[in-house]
Amino acid sequence: MTITSTPVDNGINLPALLDAREALTADPVLAEFEWRASCSWVNGTHSHSTVEGFTGLRGEQSHKTVFHYDIDHPECFASEDHGATPIEMVLVGLAGCLVAGVASVAQMREIQLRSVSATLSGDMNLLGVLGLDPEVRNGFGGIRVHFDVDADASKADIEAIVAQSQKRSAVYDIVTNPTNVTVTVN
């Protein structure tokens, strides 16, 4: 790490994070969160999802605004392509989680980031979702994430930040480990 005259600032409010860690340790109920999304079918494979509210910190919380997502499939799937595919949204979620983690861990370790970019790809064999081959799973056969990080740090330090961001990532955990999913219908 080079010595810089300006304090490390990756846009992460570290004092607030550290305060939060302390508060959540003192009162673990604060740490119990529920994240939500809702989705309505529009037409064909096109759906419209919104996220707004969530619970946590012993109460109902809300984003500053409602966020909207159109989800669809591309034209080669005989769809109208009003938005990303759900499986691309998974990659978006994983990327967002890991990149946020990189920034936070770098801030914690007092490493100034100049740029971070991640490219993600996942292999998928359509024979699975189409039910044409029972040996093929529906989901990704594997996911690859490649990071380009420019920072005031050694290669080993950057690798350690990226590794730590995986270790602490919610979405990384969700995609690498099984999760119980309960679906109900009215």
Binding site: A156, E159, Q166, Y172, T176, N177, P178
Partner: protein, 443 residues
């Protein structure tokens, strides 16, 4: 029955404390449910050897005197070592004494303790919990999904490869225990699958010397509990992948895989008889490799500062952990060759007999370097990173008991009311011993 201090557990920690209290003429007893060194006798597998070299296996006033200082004690030698120590220091051990409860005296909380056993009840000003960090083998919740046809063992009830059914073995856990059992069971000719989550990789030898010599000499083992960034984390770091063998071999995922052990990610679930392994193995190995390299860099820097570079081999780095391009994510336990699963997922202490409000929400005792929080006169010994990294090892008892016995002595001499009450009592060897007797009389 009355005494000043009750030590619970006659393992290396409890005995080391006994020696310290004797040095200070503090009246005490050591209560032991079985025999001296009971956990080592009954709750470990027969071929287990210590990870620490013999020269490092030392207790206050007692050290290895054999002709193999760089070797590693097996269980019989270790049991002899600890039993010999109990005799040398003439520890007042009461064997065959099971503690049912540690509770406040009827006079009230903070007035001393009652230690209820199957051989009667002791009353004492202070109590030292030295029953060990490894009383219960952790079995993860996913065990509930394992098909009934599969035999399961923990690392506490596993007694050798010939005591489990023929066929393949899935070992869950890649810390010291897991890799050691993988090595032993694979060597016995069994197909072994090793499920590995977070782990710590350590070479046995580095630059020609034992890795524990390096950590000892460079002060890594002396890092204190109140100096580490994240104590909770430090106390939960898995035990390193290391084994004590006469050949001083290094054991890691590369060495195991090269011999044919199949390495998978952490066992994350069992659904419909199918074991599901985490896809995080690559990152777990990356983290372990990076962490190993950081440790080696620390040791190299220390070596240069200490002027020892010419005395030892040149610095080196180890090959990164090799993995299959796509490690298995599932294993159908109903159709595979696996006949036995061994849970090597770590241990936890059992303090369920401590009837005092000293626990956190995970039922772990709250303490400050072994001084139990909100329980004056109660001490904890022998747990991971109790006061320093060394506390995890047998030799950690030396310094830990030196410091905690001083704290205990000070407590006996100064706890609230001690001086005033002692003036009312007859002659006493130390002021602190009198108070609880009066409290007991009131009770």
């Amino acid at each position: 029955m009355e005494t000043t201090t009750v030590i619970i557990g006659a393992g290396h920690s409890g005995l080391a404390m006994s020696r310290r209290l004797s040095d200070r003429s503090i009246d005490h007893v050591v209560l032991e449910r079985g025999q001296v060194a009971n956990s080592w006798r009954t709750e470990r597998w027969p071929t287990l050897r210590l990870q620490t070299p013999n020269w490092q296996t030392r207790l206050p006033g007692h050290h290895y005197v054999g002709n193999d200082p760089d070797g590693f004690m097996g269980m019989p030698e270790l049991i002899d070592f600890i039993t010999g120590y109990a005799g040398t220091i003439e520890a007042p051990v009461h064997t065959g004494t099971t503690v049912f409860s540690v509770r406040p005296v009827p006079g009230g909380y903070g007035e001393g303790y009652e230690v209820v056993t199957d051989q009667g009840t002791w009353r004492a000003d202070s109590v030292v919990l030295a029953s060990g960090p490894a009383n219960v083998a952790v079995v993860p919740a996913v065990a509930a999904g394992v098909p009934e046809a599969i035999t399961t063992r923990t690392s506490m009830d596993y007694k050798g490869p010939d005591t489990i059914p023929d066929g393949g073995v899935l070992i869950v856990g890649g810390s010291a225990t897991g890799v050691q059992l993988a090595e032993e069971i694979h060597r016995a000719g069994r197909p072994v699958t090793l499920a590995v989550g977070e782990h710590v990789r350590l070479p046995r030898l580095y630059r020609g010397r034992d890795i524990l010599w390096w950590m000892d000499a460079a002060g890594v083992l002396d890092e204190r509990y109140d100096e580490v960034d994240d104590l909770t984390r430090a106390r939960h770091v898995p035990s390193p992948q290391i084994i004590g063998t006469p050949e001083r071999i290094t054991i890691d995922l590369n060495s195991l895989a090269a011999r044919g052990v199949r390495v998978t990610g952490r066992l994350a679930g069992v659904r419909d008889g199918v074991a599901q392994f985490s896809g995080s193995l690559r990152n777990q190995c990356t983290l372990a490799d990076l962490k190993l390299n950081r440790l080696l860099a620390t040791l190299d820097e220390w070596c240069t500062r200490a002027g020892l570079d010419t005395d030892v081999e040149r610095p080196r780095r180890f090959e990164e952990t090799r993995l299959d391009a796509a490690p298995a994510l599932t294993l159908d336990l109903r159709r595979s060759d696996i006949r036995t699963i061994i849970w090597a997922c770590g241990y936890r202490a059992d303090h369920s007999w401590v009837d005092l409000p000293v626990f956190d929400r995970h039922q772990r005792i709250r303490h400050d370097g072994g001084v139990v929080t909100d329980a004056p006169g109660l001490y904890l010994l022998g747990t991971k990173f109790l006061r320093r990294r060394r506390s995890t090892y047998i030799c950690g008892a030396e310094q830990d008991t030196l410091e905690l016995s001083a704290h205990l002595h000070h407590f006996l001499d100064h706890h609230e009311g001690a001086i005033a009450l002692s003036a009312m009592d007859g002659p006493a060897s130390r002021p602190g011993t009198t108070r609880s007797r009066l409290a007991f009389a009131k009770g």
